[in-house]
């Protein structure tokens, strides 16, 4: 184990000094202990989340048997998938636009596109509430069209992140490749599909995962845009947490945490940790 390595600690090996290890260890405990406790207690055979009374999976059955909760989860996943697809398209187009062209008002447009990242969630939520009220957005559509309002709101705050990620990847693109392709007779569309897209593919994967998690995670904006019949998972969990703290919430949360971990590992397989870290 590196912990007891015999080689002397070099001056820059800060991470090998004892107090640094203790610090990092304490931070990791701080970050993970609540989540681990939550997951453990989802198997607790007791109505209250306090004392361990034996192992059970009945709260998973209860959570999965809770039609509203399952519906909310399906809604959330649908919205996240739709928002991710649209954000990928819009975000990539915006990135290509800003990378490739010189045009009037470029600075202003660049700023406006990244504005949804900066504007506080609560303000964006309020804006969408007012907007959908002002245009009289129908609230009685059938599934999945009733998710339209929420999906639109999610696309607005997700796609700038895709733009950001794709843009930083485009910066390393050698424009001569594009010219070479054109010299060899490729059309604009072919260059885009066969040269540009393969180059930015890692950024697309990262951007897709980022927008999927952002959309799945969002509570505030959804809270303002959701109608009475369109509940998403965070909104449902919020109302459950508000009224009572039950192991059912733990079970549902554990399922979502596992989903997050799986998504993260897919991202790792696709890209490696370092590349993902750099996109943040």
């Amino acid at each position: 184990m590196a912990l007891f390595a015999r080689a002397p600690v070099a001056p820059l090996e800060y991470s090998r000094t004892l107090w640094m290890r203790l610090w990092v260890g304490a931070v990791m405990v701080f970050l993970y202990a609540p989540l681990v406790v939550l997951m453990i207690f989802s198997f607790n055979d007791s109505k209250r989340n306090v004392v361990w009374r034996g192992f059970t999976t009945k709260y998973y059955e209860k959570a999965l048997g809770n039609d509203q909760l399952v519906e909310a989860l399906i809604n959330s996943l649908t919205i996240a998938a739709l928002a991710t697809l649209a954000s990928l398209v819009l975000g990539t187009l915006a990135a290509v636009l800003l990378w490739r062209f010189r045009f009037p008002w470029k600075g202003a447009i660049d700023g406006t596109i990244s504005l949804p990242i900066i504007v506080p969630e609560i303000c964006l939520g309020v804006a969408f509430l007012m907007f959908f009220a002002a245009v009289g957005w129908p609230t009685d559509l059938v599934w999945p069209f009733n998710l339209g309002a929420i999906t639109i709101a999610h696309i607005t705050f997700c796609f700038p992140f895709v733009t950001m990620v794709v843009r930083s990847r485009l910066a390393s693109f050698n424009r001569e490749q594009e010219e070479a392709a054109k010299d060899l007779g490729a059309s604009e569309a072919q260059v885009f599909r066969d040269v540009l897209i393969p180059h930015i593919k890692p950024a697309l994967v990262a951007g897709a995962l980022l927008s999927f998690t952002l959309s799945l995670d969002d509570f505030v904006i959804t809270y303002f845009t959701s109608g009475p019949d369109t509940i998403t998972f965070p909104v449902k969990v919020y109302s459950m947490v508000r009224f009572s703290v039950t192991p059912e919430v733990n079970a549902a949360s554990t399922l979502l945490i596992i989903l997050t971990v799986i998504l993260t590992f897919i991202a790792l397989k696709a890209q490696g940790v370092k590349a993902i870290a750099e996109t943040h």
Partner: protein
């Protein structure tokens, strides 16, 4: 090849620019404009709102009550950012100088909570901090232990342990916000430290400066842009935080986002809520302006 002028291939330019621009205008700028218009309106009846161009909403926002809440939100956000910086900086240092084998795993360790649902993380923390939660139990056990040791030495035992109220107060809000925002701080710090030229640190150490002095005089100034970025990335969401103060705060730990929410749900005063929203947005702009001013300083010199 430099950037292409848009006139040279208008069709491609249109295909690339129109979808995004349309989206941004219709689904971002128009909603924001509606909020802005409402902030100059008045309530007339239950659902009717007249756009009278009044400044009353802004005037009301400068009442002491709301100024106090704004001030408190700033104070809480600043405190949270400071704590995150103090906790996060050594972590970022450790990740930067970790061995090739460990670094990805440490990064993953920071990133996984970042990707986990905010509401779930808040809820997990609430479970831990409740009067019956582990934090209280742990402290209770420590208390009992001290009491027992005192009796062993022949002193009076401590009075019996009373569970501390860790939730639903200002402490809980700060604690919760630090918990939620810590990864936001560590990742940009790491990105900045990773770019640092290590020979400068080595030179400083060789020339006789201690580790602390090297960090303060060499590492911090060089990593300043990353530190500022980390501060902004933590400060901005902390300032507009809604969920943590709502779930973990008490009646006196309302932050500005909670007040805005109330105008739209319970109080049903949309124009005033719109005015508060725009004041929050202006505050963000002010913060970002300050940040970009900082960026320019080295260029001037």
């Amino acid at each position: 090849m430099a950037e292409q002028d848009w006139k040279t291939s208008k069709r491609t330019f249109a295909a690339v620019s129109l979808p995004t621009l349309l989206w941004v205008v219709v689904f971002f700028l128009v909603p924001m404009a509606i909020v802005w218009l409402y902030s100059f309106g008045e309530n007339r009846g239950l659902t009717e709102i007249e756009f009278s161009g009044t400044l009353d909403n802004y005037k009301r926002a400068t009442e002491w009550l709301y100024l106090g809440i704004f001030g408190k939100s700033f104070a809480v956000a600043a405190l949270v950012t400071l704590i995150c910086l103090i906790i996060g900086f050594p972590v970022a240092m450790a990740i930067t100088f970790a061995s090739e084998k460990w670094r990805p795993w440490l990064l993953l360790g920071i990133m996984l909570p970042f990707w986990t649902n905010l509401l779930i993380r808040t809820y997990a923390l609430m479970m831990l901090l409740g009067t019956q939660g582990f934090a209280n139990k742990g402290m209770g056990a420590l208390w009992e232990g001290t009491s027992w040791i005192k009796t062993l030495v022949g002193l009076q035992p401590l009075p019996t342990w009373e569970p501390v109220q860790l939730l639903f107060n200002n402490f809980a809000v700060v604690f919760g916000l630090v918990y939620v925002h810590l990864p936001f701080m560590v990742l940009p710090l790491y990105a900045a430290l990773d770019r640092l030229d290590r020979s400068l640190i080595e030179a400083s150490l060789d020339l006789g400066a201690g580790h602390f002095r090297t960090i303060m005089r060499i590492v911090v100034p060089l990593a300043a842009p990353g530190i500022i970025a980390g501060v902004m990335i933590t400060l901005i969401p902390a300032l507009g935080a809604y969920l943590t103060p709502d779930l973990m705060g008490g009646t006196d730990s309302q932050m500005i986002a909670n007040v805005i929410e109330r105008q739209f749900k319970k109080a049903n005063d949309w124009p005033f809520g719109a005015a508060l929203s725009f004041l929050l947005i202006y505050a963000m702009f002010a913060l970002i302006a300050i940040q970009s001013m900082h960026k320019k300083v080295p260029e001037v010199r």
